[in-house]
Amino acid sequence: MSVAALHKKEMAPKEYKSDVNVVWCPGCGHHGILNAILRSLSELGVDPTNLVNVSGIGCSSRTPYFMQSYKMHTLHGRAGPVATGVQLARPDQLVCVTGGDGDGFAIGGGHMPHMARRNVNLTYILFDNGIYGLTKGQYSPTSRRELKAYTTPYGGPDDPMNPLLYMLTYGATYVAQAFAGKPKVCADLIKGAMEHKGFSYVNIYSQCVTYNRIDTIQYYRDLMREIPADHDPSDLGAAIELARGDTEGHRPMGLLYQVQRETLDERLAAIVKQVGGHPDFDRNKIINQYRP
């Protein structure tokens, strides 16, 4: 969504917080991401009345409770299509999804490609901690095999997925990554995502201090490499190369990809225009087609 059209407000980041207690464990990376979101909203001057924040189920999916705005706490894996419905119904609002790696890529994985290729005009912020936090620590699609978790006491049998590569392949028009330890970077990338018109995906690594003892904040710090300044974000091939990581297994931090493409609501609006749609269209014209 380009937020330019939204009624602007001057509000400090903390004014975007609701009065619901933040229930995350102390030290959880999700705190940092929440703060980054609040900060980007403030910097953009978003009026919370025009923001719809949608989530599924998970620790990360509790985010909407902690924020001022219209919001939906939906079902595990379903934030994406619910948010799609919101956005198509109200293209004049800023729509945002906050959710986890399990929510987005395990049970919700079937919806991701379609949101992206349709270029649904919303921002998807994925709190990637390589674990199912809320259910007390099972491995997720982004878990490393080394992780011994609840249902994988002998280590995981699956190779982790690569969210960035998926999103680039799916046709997201804005793809970025950071980690919770860099709130300023996160805020900037989220801001960029919200300003972007089209489907924006921001992957933020987040340490789950309670159940994922191997993906620590230090691990992420060592893992991440800033994207070189000369990277051209409109070059899909280059973005794919970056997403695949370097030879030592480092992961990119920053904006990988950004292009402009017609959004789904624009395309649907074009069809309405093409048929000369009007709310007061005479329904009798349709009925009359069925006269014998």
Partner: protein, 572 residues
């Protein structure tokens, strides 16, 4: 049971030979001639080819169902003949492709009037097999008094888009058929009633009618995934909703469809999806979210033969259990069921209204036979429909999304409304929407969610009672079975048997008092339904004191009036 002015013509043959268009043309021509039409089709379950059947019942009076069997049968090929020959009983007329077709019938039974018409041959002589159905139609029109004038108008309307040449070719084939028909001596008494003053009607299928109802009901957002026998609803909406600036999405699956519907509805739009049994099963979880989050949502379920993939192109009324009980936990829903094509229009409007009014999921049940049945119905008048909008917050004071109000319905607030920010959630919650784990609150909220729809049994026209006073047998029927029962009751009364009918359209919550009052006037209660377990009978036993006699068939075909008549006599 057909009278001269109540004629049933069945056309059958290989899918792709023009069976469906033949039926459609006849139906439209009769409707144009001011007559009442009820059609019934069965499709091949095969991908292409296979046996297709189209039956047109036409009368100068209202018709309520497809009838018992045909009066006139027109066989396009040997398979159609083989499948129907046992129905060639004395009195029926039999038109068939001969000579030059792919079969030669057995000896024509005593009392059957046979009209061999060389349809394939004539068509071939004209230069294209594709006109076989036109030849048939020409013959049928002279033999059975189908108005030539209106048939030609219908044909012209259809083919003129395709160009003069195609139109003329088809008209030529039609003339040829007339000629062939005229050459034969009319020996039976079957004839379509003469044209009368055209009425203000449309002729439309159940699925298209649901789409029409949706647009008349103010639908703004539609998302669905294709599935037989519901897909035509999406097609209708896709074609027309952009004209009204509404939105249609074909989602990646049924879960996404209902999810999008909930999102769009939260955002303030009247929203719906349509599906069949497998899709409704997949929606179970999100329908619970709609109950809990109090989000208006309409799901139209066009039932088909189950369970599982089942008999995907066949009729059944077997999703009632799922519609009422299909989610975990205690979750209130409104379930409605249509009787006929007119209901498909009107009750889709009702269903959208009820969803808005009660802020909950509404499931509207149609079925496989209605989906494709075309019927003449009074042309809907857009201005006659009263639309209900959800209660919206007035902007006064502090906003509580789930506030306990007098009627237990809490005002909603659309995104963009200052001060109305709130959360819609599937977690148990207090008035504000914030999670609440207390037992007391859970109970209060359950009472709110169930309580708000309770009054529906009195405010929504829940049932229709057919007959007065005492009866020996009361028949409770739902869905398209109602139309069959209506006619059975007329016949039974004509024989002096005391019967009454009870036709619920509001399936859940159950209008228990009305059921009881009806049953109190009947010696016995018979419940015919097209499913194996007797699903409505189950709910009647569970929720009322009535102990009905279930009459179930699960064959993929609807009842016909004779079956009900016989059954009533049996239980009498």
């Amino acid at each position: 049971m057909s009278k001269a002015n109540d004629l049933i013509i069945r056309v059958a043959g290989e899918g792709g030979e023009g069976i469906i268009s033949t039926g459609d043309f006849i139906a439209a021509a009769c409707a144009r001639a001011g007559l009442e039409v009820y059609t019934f089709k069965t499709f091949p379950a095969e991908i292409k080819g296979g046996y297709a059947m189209y039956q047109v019942r036409v009368s100068s009076e209202r018709v309520y169902n497809q009838g018992d069997t045909f009066d006139v049968f027109c066989a396009f090929n040997g398979e159609a003949y083989e499948l129907n020959k046992h129905l060639l009983t004395p009195g029926t007329a039999f038109v068939y492709d001969y000579p030059g077709g792919d079969f030669q019938p057995d000896a024509i039974p005593e009392g059957v009037t046979a009209y061999p018409i060389p349809m394939s041959q004539a068509s071939k002589d004209l230069g294209s097999y594709r006109s076989k159905n036109m030849v048939a139609m020409g013959a049928l029109s002279v033999l059975f008094n189908i108005s030539e004038e209106t048939l030609k108008q219908v044909l012209t309307n259809k083919f003129k888009k395709k160009g003069e040449e195609i139109l003329n070719f088809n008209l030529k084939a039609f003339e040829k058929g007339k000629e062939l028909g005229t050459a034969l001596q009319k020996r039976d008494t079957w004839r379509v009633a003469d044209p009368v003053e055209p009425k203000d009607v449309i002729i439309i299928s159940g699925n298209d009618a649901v789409g029409m109802g949706a647009l008349l009901g103010g639908l703004e957002f539609f998302s669905a995934y294709p599935i037989t026998p519901a897909t035509e609803i999406a097609k209708f909406v896709a074609t027309h909703i952009p004209k009204l600036t509404g939105t249609l999405v074909q989602a990646e699956d049924e879960i996404a469809s209902i999810a999008q519907v909930l999102g769009a509805s939260y955002a303030g739009r009247k929203s719906m999806t349509s599906t069949s049994g497998p899709g409704l099963s997949l929606m179970s979880e999100l329908l619970g979210m709609a109950s809990m989050g109090e989000i208006p949502a309409l799901v139209v379920d066009v039932q088909r033969g189950g369970p599982s993939t089942g008999l995907p192109t066949k009729h059944e009324q077997s999703d009632l259990f799922l519609a009422i009980h299909g989610t975990h936990g205690d979750a209130p829903r409104v379930v409605l069921s249509v009787e006929d094509v007119k209901d498909c229009v009107d009750m889709t409007v009702d269903a959208l209204n009820l969803a808005e009014q009660y802020q909950c999921p509404v499931i509207l049940l149609s079925d496989g036979s209605l989906a494709f049945s075309t019927q003449t119905i009074p042309a809907p008048k857009p201005e006659n429909y009263t639309l209900v909008n959800r209660k919206r917050w007035d902007g006064e004071g502090k906003y509580f999304r789930y506030a306990i109000t007098e009627d237990l319905i809490s005002p909603m607030s659309d995104p963009g409304t200052p001060g109305g920010e709130h959360i819609a959630t599937g977690l148990e919650h207090g008035a504000s929407g914030a999670p609440s784990w207390s037992s007391e609150n859970h109970e209060v909220m359950h009472r709110k969610r169930f309580g708000k729809i309770k009054g529906l049994v009195d405010t929504y026209k829940p049932v229709e009672v057919d007959g007065e006073g005492e009866a020996d047998v009361g028949i409770i029927a739902w869905g398209s079975t109602i139309g069959v029962v209506r006619e059975s009751i007329t016949r039974l009364r004509a024989e002096g048997i005391k019967v009454k009918g009870f036709y619920p359209k509001l399936m859940w919550p159950m209008p228990v008092a009305q059921y009881e009052a009806f049953a109190a006037t009947c010696q016995k209660i018979l419940v015919p339904e097209v499913n194996f377990q007797g699903q409505l009978s189950h709910f009647i036993r569970a929720e009322t004191t009535i102990r009905p006699i279930p009459y179930t068939i699960c064959g993929g075909l609807p009842f016909n009036p004779a079956m009900i008549v016989n059954k009533v006599k049996e239980v009498l």
